[in-house]
């Protein structure tokens, strides 16, 4: 289940944000390692909602530090 989510997330980050798929691992820090900025974060929430139908609440996204954090939130929604 979480593996599928990680694959989905990796696809989004690769296709829409030009991020190298090899560095999208659960431990990767999205702001530092993946160079996501505050606008990318908004676009990512919107994109994930389009794909999975799940909207990450903004207050929960504030706590997100790593790719694994996003996967964890998505798996509980």
């Amino acid at each position: 289940m979480t593996d599928n989510i990680l694959i989905q997330l990796r696809n989004v980050l690769t296709e829409d944000f030009d991020i190298d798929p090899d560095i999208v691992v659960a431990e990767a820090r999205i702001y530092e390692d993946l160079d996501i900025d505050s606008i990318d974060a908004i676009d990512l929430i919107v994109r994930l909602k389009e794909i999975s139908g799940k909207k990450i609440p903004p207050e929960r996204f504030k706590e997100v530090r790593t790719v694994g954090d996003i996967v964890a939130i998505l798996s509980t929604l």
Binding site: S38, I42, P58
Partner: protein
């Protein structure tokens, strides 16, 4: 000893000026407080009750807020708390709408910007829409809330595309004195996506006052001088190559804006 007498006199005059400015500052806060209280719990609730048309209510509320800010600017100048200078207003064309971007050295920037651009939209903290003495005011003026980032971004773009002007502080918060300027990605992304011209306003405030680290009673040792320099509008399209996507365009425009403000602030 005329020399030492003079220095005593000078110190006394400075002390007197400081004392007066302290009183002036306290008065200014009192006027601002009482004014916002009256607006917030008396005038605006009445306005929201009587004027049912949202567009009209917004126009009238902003007219009131803009004039209140002009009065407050006049008051602070009159009691001698600050002096100010505004230049470059010839760059503003009333038949155009802009994304107005300004640096944010002090709490008072908002007073000056709203006095200059009373009809413009701005972004406010969600709390202001919830606290009881500001919520009626915020409902009336209809500013954009920062509650949901995705909604915030699309609201900014929608309103600009509808032909309205919007004020944003790219720093997202007040400047930390002595540290390099830092811009968040938001303002540049809004400019690129909405496709409107950017109107930069370079603000300096010397000595610093009402930064995040200063309380209201920490009155500066000299009278504050505010300068707002409106710059010629920047067309975002001219700066970004056609073959790059929105994301890259936003990032490169943000780099441009940061360098633009850093240079102009260093130039005095």
């Amino acid at each position: 000893m005329p020399g030492s007498l003079r220095s005593v006199g000078l110190r006394f005059r400075r002390g007197a000026s400081f004392g007066w400015r302290w009183i002036g500052t306290a008065l200014s806060f009192a006027v601002f407080g009482i004014g916002s209280f009256l607006l917030g719990i008396l005038i605006m609730p009445l306005m929201n009750l009587l004027v049912r048309n949202e567009e009209r209510r917004m126009r009238w509320s902003r007219l009131i807020v803009g004039n209140a800010m002009r009065f407050f600017r006049f008051f602070m100048n009159a009691v001698g708390v600050l002096r100010y200078e505004i230049s470059g207003t010839e760059h503003i064309r009333n038949d155009r709408n802009y994304l107005i971007v300004a640096n944010h050295p002090s709490l008072i920037d908002v007073v000056f910007l709203l006095a200059m651009f009373p009809t413009a939209d701005c972004v406010i903290k969600q709390e202001l829409r919830e606290i009881f003495w500001t919520k009626h005011l915020m409902k009336g003026v209809g500013y954009i809330s920062n509650r949901d980032p995705a909604a915030w971004l699309s609201d900014c773009i929608t309103r600009l595309r509808a032909g309205r002007s919007l004020i944003l502080f790219p720093e997202g918060t007040r400047t930390v004195p002595g540290e390099p300027l830092q811009f968040k990605a938001g303002a540049a992304a809004v400019a690129v996506r909405a496709g409107v011209e950017c109107l930069p306003v370079v603000i300096t405030c010397r000595p610093t006052t009402l930064t995040k680290a200063e309380r209201w009673y920490q009155v500066p040792e000299r009278r504050v001088f505010f300068s707002l320099r409106v710059q010629p509008p920047i067309s975002v399209g001219d700066l970004c190559a056609d073959d790059i996507d929105e994301r890259q365009a936003g990032r490169s425009f943000n780099d441009f804006l940061l360098a633009y403000f850093t240079t102009r602030l260093a130039g005095g």
